[in-house]
Amino acid sequence: MDSIKFNHAYLQDAFSIAGPLEKEGKIRDFDLELDDYYYHEKTFELAEVKMQRVVIEQLLMKNHLIEKDIHYLIGGDLSNQISVSSYAARYYKIPFLGVYSACACFVEAVLLGAKLVDGRSKKRALVVTSSHNLNAEKQFRFPIEYGALKPKTTTFTATGCVGALICQEGKIRIEGATIGKVVDMGIQDATNMGAVMAPAAASVLYQHLQDFKRNVDDYDLILTGDLGSVGSALFREYLKRTYHISMMNHMDAATEIYKTEQDTYAGASGPVALPLVLFNLVLKSHRYQKILIIGTGSLHSPTFVNQKESIPAISHAVSLEVLS
């Protein structure tokens, strides 16, 4: 069994920062919106570190907590050696775990946080994840100002940072989780990450339903991370053909962030895409009670892509229940 059931783990609070393009998109009223990519720092890398720090500090302040009240800090991002999270964590005296599963970071962090907190009274975990479009461009693609022509399957790394507080009480119960397996369907194209990740998302969804003996209709919403328009279509088709599951309650975070005229190809990507949509659209709408979030990560590095290796993908699922 690849799944975990939690007894007492809740999402108590969350804080979101959205970048300059994201705040002009479909979702409005993020907790904090940035006007420029530098965020008053010298480099984009430092700007992303600052985003994580602000999120951590805002969460502490809003909930009247001090560093000592947080027992675990779990952070993840896209930068090499997950340096953004580590450089942000150096400012706090909180035991730190750095996680990497590309754009599935947030779900992995929530899963770990819930496991660490579950059943242990007064324990709190703070999970934080971020991505910065220009840092990702520089690391994974071309220099920032280089106008490379991109195919329509490309996704656009969202800029932003989201943190969440996991503890023993709250209104959103973290009910269960399924840890995904790495899936590689032989796709080599790093500009089509939706196609790389779709089978991994389908596999973890199937595993989750098997382990918990449920079917898709038991959830009001199945929210995938950043499959994008191409990946979402592939995900649904793959589910139908391989596992004979069809669903009407699927939403993909990637396609909910930007407007069509913002010209972001197949939609948003990055670990921050899913939590931005979860906390600022899905939960604020009060329309859904049982939500399954599926983080999707394409685990490639430019080196392996250049060596013509096919790209492995990972997906983790966490089921949430909104208590009324």
Binding site: Y146, Y238, R241
Partner: protein
């Protein structure tokens, strides 16, 4: 579903690129740059009595400056995404690739950042440009003496 079947499915779901439209746009944009360049060369040769080679060199320098300044100001990448290869094929694309890499790495030091990454994209053009120039020169000598 096995890997081959999945890859077929991916192909089926991948949106088609509008190659013909892109080619036409590139042709027109590239053509316009060529047209402006020709006016520039004509002015230099007619009004300033420069030779053809000198005038072409000035044009090249002008295009490089034009692309680099616009890259630094942040316009050029948007233009390239709209004007396609029309902006890349002339010297402008080469200058653009160097300036954009330089901008990216200037904060990482003059040697370890800017210096080592300056030709990140343009390196291939220079290397294979020189190699092919060598072979074409050899062919030229063989056929035309």
């Amino acid at each position: 579903m096995n890997q081959d079947e999945y890859q077929k499915l991916v192909k089926q779901f991948t949106p088609k690129e509008r190659k013909f439209k892109n080619a036409v746009v590139s042709f027109l944009v590239g053509g316009c740059i060529g047209f402006v360049g020709q006016i520039f060369v004509t002015i230099l040769t007619e009004n300033y009595h420069l030779g053809m080679i000198e005038a072409s060199s000035w044009l090249c320098l002008f295009l490089i400056l034009f692309a680099s300044v616009l890259t630094a100001l942040g316009f050029f990448d948007t233009w390239v995404t709209k004007g396609k290869a029309g902006f890349i094929i002339p010297t402008t694309g080469f200058a653009h690739s160097i300036t954009s890499a330089a901008l990216d790495y200037k904060k990482e030091g003059l040697i370890t950042g800017l210096g080592s990454n300056f030709f990140k994209l343009a390196g291939s053009v220079i290397l294979y440009g020189i190699i092919s120039a060598f072979f074409f020169a050899v062919l030229g000598v063989i056929f035309y003496g």
